[in-house]
């Protein structure tokens, strides 16, 4: 029997497609339902972030980083503030360090909740797990509002500490949240993890072998799901991460299902870190004396943290002025996105959106 000749069709997916996480465009070449090639097109949300960052002064840039990955503003601020502190050799007070860890780990939980919720949306389980997850995000966002005054763009981290001390109601509420969360994660797992259709759709889909993942420079849950135990909190502990016990979750196959499992496991680990941080939280100052005008010493610095999506790094160059000379961001979503065509080739159209969901993109960070 001779092979039936079929023509490939080019399909434009996005930038207004419902499951491309914002304005992200894909040019798919498909043969029937099978994907032959994928070409991602980015830049629809380009806002000149890095150039504007050079115009802003050092302090103004902290709230500006909130606009990068708007799901996890605290992590962005953390990375930027740590980079500036490294450059200016500022040491924040102990209490501020702990508060920062609490905020960033809460942020990680929020990010993974949203990631899992959207992944299920893309699998076609419309909004049920999503709403369950958003309910818990809402609790964290409420805590942020209580502390920083804003739900999504907190502007809470300052160079040399945090903007304000925790309000009295924060700690009880946070403890309650941390105590209740593992129960919810179990509930979520009962709903999703053993679901037959979920397993059919996710296992062996979008497999990323470890060597390819490293070659593409992937980081975060994407890399760990491929079996590489690389977490900057462990590989190069920054701030006070060396004081906590936690496990790095590593996948075995590197498919979408592993990424989901890694995210679930990371939420549990975040709960562990939060418990330790809440236990050890010292009393004292929350910031070095605040200055209206901040001038960083001449020099350059690169600092990276393990953001929920991967390695988030800030490269800053100072020429001794009130604003940075160069403000460059290594955004995890952008780098992880490079592996998308590799993961999608040979799959079905339905797999493409699932793989996008498993990478966990935020277009604000990809396009900057």
């Amino acid at each position: 029997m001779t092979e039936l000749k079929t023509e490939t069709v080019t399909i434009n997916m996005g930038p207004q497609h419902p499951s491309t996480h914002g304005v992200f465009r894909l040019i798919l070449t498909v043969d029937g339902e099978t994907v032959v090639d994928v070409e991602p097109v980015v830049g629809y949300l380009h806002r000149n972030h890095e150039k504007i960052g050079e115009k802003n002064n050092w302090i103004q840039n902290t709230p500006f980083t909130d606009r990068l990955d708007y799901i996890s503003p605290m992590s962005n601020e953390f990375a930027y503030v740590l980079a500036v502190e490294k450059l200016a050799e500022i040491e924040p007070p102990e209490r501020a360090k702990y508060i920062r860890i609490i905020m960033v780990e809460l942020n990680r939980i929020v990010n993974h909740m949203v990631a899992i919720g959207f992944l299920m949306n893309e699998l076609g389980c419309f909004f049920t797990p999503m709403f369950y997850c958003l309910r818990w995000r809402e609790m964290v966002v409420d805590m942020w509002e209580m502390t920083a005054g804003s739900r999504m763009m907190p502007n809470y981290f300052w160079i040399g500490g945090v903007a304000a001390d925790l309000p009295p109601a924060f700690l009880p509420q946070c403890r309650e949240f941390v105590d209740a969360l593992p129960g919810f994660i179990d509930e979520l797992e009962r709903l999703i993890t053993d679901n037959e259709i979920m397993q059919m759709r996710c296992k062996d889909v979008g497999v990323l072998p470890p060597d390819v993942a490293i070659a593409y420079g992937c980081t975060g849950p994407l890399l760990r799901a491929s079996g590489v135990p690389y977490d900057i909190r462990r590989a190069e502990p920054y701030s006070i991460y060396d004081r906590f016990d936690f496990d790095i979750a590593v996948g075995t196959v590197g498919d979408v299902y592993d990424r989901y499992l890694v995210r679930i496991a990371e939420m549990r680990q975040s709960v562990r870190i939060l418990e330790q941080a809440l236990r050890d939280l010292p009393e004292g100052e929350t910031s070095t004396p605040k200055k209206k005008k901040f001038v960083a010493p001449v020099g350059d610095v690169y600092h990276r943290i393990e953001a929920p999506k991967g390695e988030l790094g800030f490269y800053l160059v100072s020429d001794g002025e009130t604003s940075p000379y160069r403000y460059k961001i290594r955004a995890p979503s952008f780098v992880n996105l490079q592996a998308l065509p590799y993961m999608c080739r040979g799959g079905k159209i339905a797999d493409v959106v699932v793989v996008i969901g498993s990478i966990d993109l935020t277009m604000g960070e990809v396009d900057r």
Partner: protein, 401 residues
């Protein structure tokens, strides 16, 4: 006691009596053929208005229930408890601009709107909504449902092909493949019941269940599950909503349709979903039979119960992929339906009909079959459970200062 029974009987037969009253009134001034003609049109009108009217509240009902599943309220702004939400939506859709894409095949594109909606109303004609409440008791009832039901595929295919949109085209190909594949297990699963009844008429199927004194879901549990699964796929509902596949191919076949044309597709979909529940009720759940409450009430209670199950599935399950969908139809549902048919034929020969012993034999045969298949084909202990590896990171001891 008798008066209560009289009232119950009156309520039960209220719609039938109304139609008798109408025809007797008409007979005063119309010839016999005229009465027949008018009554035919009246029945058709009632069915159409029932179909359209039920959408208004099925839509709100579904959105309310799915809202509850998703931890939110659902529509609650327009009308008491948001009951008029669908009216508001319809008004919005009606007032929207009617668009035909320039590249589309105009005739087919506009015709495709009507094609899927006609068979949905045709199916309602043979459903017995209550005792004596059937528009047309065809002797080929179930065959008619199958024949008419498959017409909907053509409408969807016309819509997707004429839109000249790549997403719509993909959806069209998926639809045809899916609907044709799932028709086979759907029909095969009901054949077992038809063997027991010996007739295709929907009314006889209901009456046969009163002779057995048990709904056929007890005798044919596997067939019921198979039928319901295949029927969900047949009407493109979650988890088999690939033709629409919102997250993949955006809206599928109705991507290029807007305003009232889109509403027509939506209408067809809701009525279809209701009619599969109605068919399942008639064939497997004993139709309109039930104690105390009027027969039509029982029909709707059972049908809406099944509808809630549909909504439940929609709120819980992710969607299958297209290749898995076809595998599921041909490798799981069709063999199971065939096995069920064989077992039913065998047991039907061996045991006495219309008796409890016979019913128990059927149930036992089904249980043996289900457990056997579960053990041989899908053993739980064989299923791999994947877990992540945890690499520990311990804290470095801090020098106490």
């Amino acid at each position: 006691m008798e008066s209560i029974q009289g009232i119950l009987e009156f309520v039960d037969q209220i719609f039938v009596n109304m139609s008798f009253w109408l025809s007797s009134q008409l007979a005063n001034f119309l010839p016999e053929w005229g009465v027949t003609l008018v009554m035919m049109f009246a029945t058709v009108l009632v069915l159409i208005f029932f179909g359209l009217g039920s959408i208004i509240w099925i839509n709100v009902f579904e959105r309310k229930v799915i809202g509850r599943f998703q931890d939110r309220y659902g529509p609650n702004r327009f009308g008491p408890w948001g009951l008029l939400q669908c009216v508001a939506d319809m008004v919005k859709l009606l007032t929207k601009e009617d668009i035909t894409p320039t590249q589309a095949d105009r005739l087919v594109y506009n015709l495709a709107v009507i094609v899927p909606i006609v068979p949905t109303f045709l199916i309602l004609a043979v459903l017995p909504f209550g005792r004596g409440m059937v528009a047309a008791d065809l002797s080929i009832g179930f065959l008619y449902i199958v024949a008419v039901g498959s017409l909907g595929t053509i409408g969807i295919f016309m819509a997707s092909w004429s839109s000249r949109n790549k997403y719509a085209m993909l959806s069209g190909l998926r639809t045809v493949a899916q609907m044709i594949s799932y028709e086979i297990p759907m029909v095969l699963s009901v054949v077992g019941v038809l063997l027991l009844v010996g007739s295709l008429s929907m009314v006889s199927i209901v009456e046969a269940q009163s002779q057995w004194r048990l709904p056929f879901v007890v005798l044919q549990p596997l067939a019921f599950v198979l039928y319901f699964t295949a029927a969900i796929a047949e009407v493109n509902r979650s988890p088999f909503d690939l033709p629409e596949g919102e997250s993949e191919i955006v809206a599928g076949y109705h991507i290029e349709y807007g305003g009232i044309k889109f509403a027509m597709f939506l209408l067809a979909e809701y009525i279809n979903a209701f009619s599969i529940c109605g068919i399942a009720t008639t064939v497997f759940l004993g139709g309109w039979q039930g104690p105390i409450l009027p027969s039509w009430a029982w029909f709707f209670i059972k049908a809406y119960f099944l509808y809630v199950v549909l909504i439940w599935l929609r709120g819980t399950l992710p969607r299958l992929r297209v290749d898995q969908l076809m595998n599921f139809a041909w490798k799981t549902l069709v063999p199971l339906a065939l096995a069920n048919l064989m077992i039913t034929a065998l047991v039907a020969k061996l045991v006495p009909h219309n008796s409890l012993v016979g019913a128990m034999a059927f149930l036992a045969a089904n249980v043996v079959m289900i457990v056997g298949i579960a053990l041989v084909k899908y053993p739980r202990w064989k299923r791999e459970k994947r877990e992540v590896v945890l690499v520990p990171r311990t804290a470095t001891p801090q020098a106490k200062s």
